[in-house]
Amino acid sequence: MTGPSSSLWRKPPLGVIMLIAMILLAVIGPLVVAFNPASVDTSSRLLAPFSYNRNGTFFLLGTDQLGRGMLEQILHGARISLLIGVAAALLAGLAGTLVGVTAGWLGGRSETFIMRVADVQLSFPSILIAVFLAAFVPPSILAVIAVLAITRWAQIARLARAVTVKARQQSYVEAALTLGFPVPKVIWSCILPNLVAPLIIVLTAELSLIILAESALGYLGLGTPPTVPSWGRIIANGKNYLDNAWWISTLPGLGIGFVVIAIGLTGDWMRRVLARGGFEVN
């Protein structure tokens, strides 16, 4: 068997290319083009994409009602939205794994209680929980990350619990415990490796949902502070100018769609790679 890695790079997958392109834009873009949220330039108000202002400055994606360039806003927004998305997904993954593995390992009442809480939370629409929590914390990037992580831990916990319960019954776990290895060590080296492949797949899907939820919070004005550009916030801003400036609201949405599609394609690709590598991915 040649293993999955040898054939991976022969045909580079579209999703990964899209994702890398977007990450590069989000990391390098803001270094190249500056964006000052407080700037007002009346000579460049509501310019359409591909147009020049009176001073001859070119605006690739047009400007908003304050004369701020859309390209600048979208690139800075990309950085913030991706940063929040990845951080929230990792935090949810960490918390969910911790809670789920604990529940699955301990069993009994604590397991029932933890899983009941997860069930109750999952019976509610996650955007409602996000809106509700975000409404009561002062707007900051850290608060948004925490809120989004709270709305998504339950899915991960369910997965982690299921994997733990299954792995616990394996003879190698029993053997390790009989040999007197401490429980944390057994969990680390016998349980967690089983979780890696399914966790990668689920976290990728969660990342898409988190990025979409972050944009919705931004749209409602419940996300990042007003001085931090975020895609949702730009869309909300443009909604007041739909009659004469369609580009303000539509362009950031295309950016979100592009990222989420890229993540979705990457997730499918990773699922295939992991399955080919012999990992069990639900």
């Binding site: 955007i127 809106v131 979409l212 919705a216 609201s249 949405g253 989420v260 979705g264």
Partner: protein
């Protein structure tokens, strides 16, 4: 069956009470004082103190919680701080539009998803299937509120076919389509996979061998069996719409509970926020319960479970 029902009713009650307490705690620890918002910047400390007393905000927190829970049980959430109307009147007047939007959305979802799902299953891996699956993937990758804005831009601002906001029948179309597209994408995948599974079942092979027409097989065997999971999902989605449509209701100014919630959060109208969340909880819990019971009723395998 009865003990199961009692068990589920108890669970529903616990969920509702726990949510009510969580809402209470969140509202109290939140920054921003509603009385200061209400009275404005010019209010003196004395006026603020009198305002707090009038709304019971000067009591110890546990006393407030006790009073609040007892009143909540009788649907008494006090008065809206910004509008002065009793909260239950304000919130209940929004239930109708929210339920209407939810029903129309789910009907639209089913109308799109079931025929397309069957079509994709019949022409599996052919162009129709691939294009539809691709479309579904894109529909799930776009933010729903953005989709709503694009629909407003095209159908309200450019073509002038439909209103972009309001509470009329025509104004219902755009928000319902916005909510239905991503849901239809999910259900259509499910319907496609269920149909593919049923088409492989021995009884379908037998029916084909007996020479039944494809349309009859589809009607009598495939549709009946494949539709159950899709309807179950539809029920759960309906419950979620009653709470989760808040963003779309705001985009289109649709006078539902969600729009009231978002607006009340902006004005820190705590009693209304509490009323909205608790009402949404009750609606989600009740719908989930009904879906579960209906599922057990339709599918005989679950009756003795």
């Amino acid at each position: 069956m009865w003990s199961y029902l009692a068990h589920r009713l108890f669970q529903a009650l616990v969920t509702t009470v726990v949510t009510a307490i969580a809402v209470f705690i969140m509202v109290r620890i939140a920054p921003g004082d509603p009385i200061e918002v209400l009275l404005g910047d010019m209010a003196s400390a004395d006026e603020i103190a009198r305002g707090r007393e009038a709304y019971g905000l000067d009591q110890p927190i546990l006393v407030q919680l006790g009073i609040y829970l007892m009143k909540a049980a009788t649907l008494d959430f006090g008065r809206s701080i910004t509008q002065g109307i009793p909260v239950h009147e304000l919130v209940l007047s929004r239930v109708g539009p929210s339920v209407l939007l939810g029903i129309v959305t789910i009907l639209l979802t089913i109308i799109i998803a079931i025929p397309l799902g069957i079509l994709c299953a019949l022409y599996r891996d052919r162009p129709v299937d691939k294009v539809t699956s691709g479309g579904a993937f894109v529909a799930l990758s776009l933010p729903d509120f953005w989709l709503g804005i694009v629909l407003i831009l095209v159908f309200a601002r450019q073509l002038h076919w439909l209103p972009s906001s309001g509470g009329s029948g025509l104004a219902l179309i755009l928000p319902a389509v916005t909510l239905a597209l991503p849901l239809a994408a999910v259900n259509l995948r499910l319907m496609r996979n269920e149909t593919i599974g049923v088409l492989k079942a021995p009884y379908v092979t037998l029916a084909r061998a007996r020479g039944l027409k494809l349309s009859d097989i589809l009607k009598r065997h495939v549709l009946r069996n494949a539709v159950i999971p899709v309807l179950t999902i539809g029920g759960v989605q309906f419950g979620h719409l009653l709470g989760g449509a808040a963003v779309i209701e705001s985009v289109f100014g649709w006078p539902g509970v969600g729009q009231l919630l978002i607006r009340s959060i902006a004005t820190r109208d705590y009693p209304v926020v509490q009323g909205c969340i608790i009402l949404m909880t009750v609606m989600v819990v009740v719908v989930n319960l009904l879906v579960d019971l209906a599922y057990r009723f339709i599918d005989p395998r679950f009756r003795s479970g």
